[in-house]
Point group: C2
Chain length 125, copies 2
């Protein structure tokens, strides 16, 4: 059976989002200001659970743009703001693991631990 | 701290995959033949859990291409084949919910139930 065409997903009525549409979702810091936007999700392909969210900051036309992987556990979805809120500020983000768009790291166990440990040791909000 | 450039993720050594790289992962049916490829994941943006996988079938230059959403629970990752295996065959896929690339449905609760119920009632492999 083929579905008839219908409207595109409405984020206000569904908590589901296609992986190719997460890009650009706003990310707010603990002071309420915008930190950046979701670049992509890093998913465990066996469990289907998002492990990390890569947050993109800065960069006009890609200049000075940096990618910051944060553990999924740091993210809360805020329906009102239509984006994610993390208990992190810009300084903490800049001091943590990051990479440039043209040099993605290997997301192996060691890198995962480094991300988790960095944010686990971050001062409480 | 900025990471030095390194190799792109190696699927053989990591179970993590970026959401923008899941596209194209092969999907094999219960008879071992290739059914299609992953178009995208549909993720619960609150829990971070993949709810559905949209499998793309057919279509040369997009002609006759169809998208079939299947529940995540139907998927097992096969390291040897480097793709997902589902206990579904082509006939079952063609009889289930599907949509054309230009008419994505609303992934709301009702649509989700329709997908789950269709595959739950599928005959055992």
């Amino acid at each position: 059976m083929e579905d008839t065409p219908s409207a595109t997903p409405d984020p206000a009525t569904s908590s589901l989002i296609a992986s190719d549409r997460v890009e650009g979702t706003k990310v707010f810091g603990r002071d309420g200001g915008k930190l950046g936007a979701v670049h992509n999700f890093v998913v465990d392909k066996r469990s289907g659970q998002v492990a990390y969210v890569v947050v993109s900051t800065g960069g006009f036309l890609g200049l000075g743009q940096a990618y910051h992987p944060l553990p999924w556990s740091a993210f809360a979805y805020d329906e009102v703001q239509g984006g994610y809120v993390v208990q992190v500020d810009r300084r903490m983000l800049d001091g943590g693991p990051s990479f440039r768009p043209d040099s993605a790291p290997v997301f192996d166990d060691a890198y995962g631990r480094r991300i988790s440990e960095y944010y686990a040791s971050a001062p409480a909000a």
